[in-house]
């Protein structure tokens, strides 16, 4: 088991992690506000507990962090003014840096996204979806076909992409 101490995590996102560790009163407002918490293996409050108690490797292996859609309802409600959404973002980043969760879908999506941005400076959502779907489950594309056709008809969907002209500026 990879042992990680709090200091390493603090180095990743000092302010928000420290605030969570120091100020959380374990009231559960975040968990009960989260639209996706019912699908999580740990509630957001419990993730704070894990981190606070130094069980960071356990926190990094949860589904919870990848189910956070950063809608920040928790953040605006938290009575200790902890930005839980941001807390989850830091955990996600830290997880990827430490080699956990590489086989999960969400990190794959993010990597595909970043590849696109790095290559073109912008993204095309339809292209991103296709590329991502091909990576994980090509059959899914078939399922999406009827809607895609409708959207194409409505002129909503387009596969063109305008790339950034001065790409070197983006890369630098």
């Amino acid at each position: 088991m990879l042992l990680i101490n709090q200091n390493e995590l603090l180095a990743e996102g000092n302010h928000v992690i420290r605030t969570a560790i120091e100020k959380c009163i374990q009231c559960g407002t975040c968990s009960a506000s989260c639209p996706l918490s019912q699908y999580m293996d740990y509630t957001p409050r419990q993730i704070v507990t894990l981190v606070r108690e130094g069980l960071i490797h356990e926190a990094l292996k949860t589904k919870t962090i990848w189910l956070c859609s950063t809608c920040y309802l928790c953040a605006v409600r938290c009575p200790a003014k902890i930005n839980i959404g941001e807390f989850m973002t830091v955990l996600k980043r830290f997880t990827l840096k430490n080699g956990y969760s590489d086989n999960l879908l969400y990190p794959k999506l993010m990597r595909t996204y970043v590849e696109y941005v790095d290559k073109y400076g912008r993204i095309s959502e339809p292209r991103l979806m296709i590329k991502f779907s091909l990576k994980i489950n090509p059959f899914k594309l078939l399922k999406m076909l009827p809607l895609s056709m409708k959207l194409l008809r409505d002129g909503v969907l387009s596969f063109s992409l305008e790339r950034v002209q001065n790409l070197h500026e983006v890369k630098a």
Partner: protein, 663 residues
Amino acid sequence: MDRKVGVYICHCGLNIASTVDVNKLTEFAQSLEGVVIARNYPYMCSDPGQELIRKDIKEYGLTNVVVAACSPTMHGSTFMKVCEEAGLNPYMFHMVNIREHVSWVTDNVEKATEKAKLLLAAAVNRVKLHEPLNRIHVPIIQSVLVVGGGITGIETSLKLANSGKKVYLVEREPSIGGRMAQLEKTFPTLDCASCILTPKMVDVASHPNITILAYSEIKEVSGYIGNYKVKIVKKPRYVDENKCIGCGLCATKCPSKVLDEFNMGLSYRKAIYIPFPQAVPRKYTIDREHCLYFTKGICRVCEKFCPTKAINFEQKPEEITLDVGAVILATGYDVFDPSVIKRYGYGRYKNVYTGLEVERLTSASGPTNGRIILRDGRTPSTIVIIHCVGSRDENYHTYCSRVCCMYAMKLAHLIKERVPNSTIYELYIDIRAHGKGYEEFYRRVQEEGVIFIRGKAAEVTESEDGKLIVTFEDTLLGRVQQIEADMVILATALEPRKDAKELARIFNIPLDKNGFFLEKHPKLAPFSTVNRGVFVAGACQGPKDIPDSVAQGAAAAAEALSLLSKGMVEAEPVIAEVNKSLCSGCRICISVCPYGAALFDKETKTAIVQEVLCQGCGTCVASCPSGARTLKQRGFMDNQILAEIEAILPKRTITMTTAIAEA
């Protein structure tokens, strides 16, 4: 005159000694010019510590004393008294703060010791220039102003009045009684609130030493400890208090209905009213904003029916001036308005209540005669009480409001008593049952079947059939849960009165960071304020339950009594002084003095300082165009301050001329 200085260094246990090398500091002190004796001791403020100083003063014939210890606010007066007891003028003493200014702000022993040395040298330099000063004595007026007629103000007034002092009890509302009058029962003993409050209200009304000034507000205060002049505005009731017999015929005939604030808007009263049946004084009041005569120029029905002809639409605000020796503020609290936490739906969903609203529902004299009936007429069967609404929340109030856990449990008990089949949930973060009998009450309520769940409600929504859905995480299960409830009660926080700031300005006292009146010291002077003749008691100083409020009310009365019974007040001599032979009479000092202490003397055509009014702030001294020899600040003379600076900055020679030139 040859100065013989004694230096006393306090360890303050380990507070100072762990960071400042007290032995080195003592050695250093001993080497300073004029110092005849330097000592250190674990607790200089203790009896043996004080005795050390007293003995030395006599033995060595000390002319000056320097104590290096904590803040002078803490123990300055202690050591001044020690000097006085040993026959030394207390103003020949100076104190250095090597705790808050040195040991508490660093872990570096070497640097801390260095800084302590500099501060000590400065103090020794300065103290040698001290001159004896004599305190000013002024007689104290033997009456007290109590502001606020709630349980705290009532208790305070009775204690003072029973000790033979004259009390003026000022209350803003038409009746005294305050918040407690709105309560049904009190935790944890479940005494009927009215049964224990009403007799005290009657005692106040009938006490020969108490004058109640109800429906009145403080307008202005001037003067100083022992001699305050207070201007009070008595608002017009439009009813002659001397004629009104409280029969209530006017209210029965009055056609104008108004939401009843005493019942938290859950019922109606008339435009002419008494707030509640046991009101003291039992005198009716016309609510000008809702009276048909005042709003539309019609009606005057009350006037027609009043048997004693007490109605007087021409009544004007009346200004009353009182002379008092001390003031006790007992203005209580406001209830946090939960409608700002929109997700709890207060104001949007009719069955979401505040604690105080439910308190009125449970009251036998309340809008439902004590029956628990919702706004839609139903009796609730599932009730959720949400704790910490507006408290322990950095978006609203960070403090714990102290009484909410207990009153939430009391409400649960009362509802259970009235609706035995109901299911009641308490959603709490932590239960704070800290008082005598409180934990036992918590157990009792749990035994009565109230269900306690650890988790803060995240939101209240409405289901299709109009039930309230409360969503929360049961933090002990680690699971998000929902309860379908008929009634939601918000245990709202206590907060400072909306006009606390204004009152604090009038009485010249500070507020704490939450907006409550700031006590002088939380432990050593919890009823005093920095304004020496003004005391605070009850929830205006911070959230408090009834036992604590009553205790503090009595304690504040004792503080005021001990002041009054001295007969004379000692005023600090560390104040401004005019050298009349140099004063040109330009009057600038008079315009800048915030206390009205500087006056112009027509005879001599110079400024004079009224000693008892001067607070020694130094504003006038700084403003005097002809310099500090004309207008002097005793205890802070230029030579004294420059002597301190010279010791701290030894490498540069600062003379008065260079300092002034540079300034």
